[in-house]
Amino acid sequence: MKFIPDPIGRFCHRMASPPHFYALSGKLLPWLTGIFLILLACGLYGGLYLAPPDYQQGDSYRIIYIHVPSAWMSLFIYIVMAITGAIGLIWRIKLAEIVAISSASVGASFTFIALVTGSLWGKPMWGTWWVWDARLTSELILLFLYLGVIGLYNAIDDKRTASKAVAILALVGVVNIPIIHYSVEWWNTLHQGPTVTKMDKPSIHVSMLIPLLLMAIAFKFYYVIAMLQRARLELLQRERTAAWVKKLVSEPSNSSS
């Protein structure tokens, strides 16, 4: 902590105090939901209606507006989980632990969505529901990693110990993800056709890109909303003996939003 300037350290500490976090997140949630809905509506309208069909894949490419942001989120959330886990492990900040574990199930759902949409996409494109494509396979392994984290957390009764276990596992996983990804890619190029046609970087036309980015941002907001809600619940459960929770429960009028 000594590397961090004092006011910032104090600010972080105040933010990380459970009652403060609970109150603040409660106030933020409606705003976040509103922004999410607007972004989602714009993204979907742009992606499904405004964007032109692809020259090769026709309309079926439109699934990328769900598939690609989910796949991005699946990786992003794992990294967030590892980072917050590490913070919890090193500085013993309870809130970081809670954010880490609350992210896990959201991340797992995004990974699942990416897999399902990927296989839905695979049906018209490749002719089968499932192809051992490098990215799909990496995604599947990522799902297993998430399930491992969730399973481990639920298997350990003492939740503080469980958070530590999850943080260690997430850190090990995050070191492994690049290696796994690379190995799967290698394996895939040996078993399947590499993209020989691809002479340049993947490119996407700007009219298709904007809705995709909108969707990506919308998904990020959704993650924050889902994660905060889970975190609030988890926080209440863990702090159920604390005075501020008892006070909160006894005054139900201003509790939840």
Binding site: R92, R240, T241
Partner: protein, 206 residues
Amino acid sequence: MMPPSPLLQVEGLSCIRDDRELFCELAFQLGAGQVLLLEGKNGSGKTSLLRILCGFREPDAGHIRWCGNPISDSQYYADMAYVGHLDGIKKELTVLENLNLALALGQHGQYAIPEALTRVQLAGYQQVLVQALSAGQKRRMSLARLLVTKNRLWILDEPFTSLDKQGIKLTETLMTEHCSRGGLIVLTSHHDLNLTDVDVQRIHLS
């Protein structure tokens, strides 16, 4: 009588387990030659406290310091020894192999292995597999482990279980000697402690 300067300092320690506050704001100081006896009913948190002192479990609040440093420091582990519910003895190994391992993990202490075994009345048992020993003999073997390694702080969880009267007496003698050499002991026990000329503090957990 002036208390000796404290080596082990505990401040504001609290432990919550399964929604129950076992203890909170616990504080004590222990200096050279002092004994701390933890008393209380089953489930009152005695073992939890010992395991927190060992660094196995993190306290929910508070600090523990050894010679002014936090106990995560490796110096603490060089200075302490723990005998818990589990003996920490491998039953497929001989008495000698077990003690040699204990030595390899720590540093040489007061006694050489044969002397220590004589001291705990296990002389001649060097080559015997531990699984052939009785529960009381195993308990005495854990005491021998305390004697052969270098340590200052003993943390003992119910050291008198499965010992006969003679064994209890022996343990008490060893504890008295340890304190007279400037050692510290933290222990839990259902038996009443019978130590002469030793400064015994008591904490009652409820």
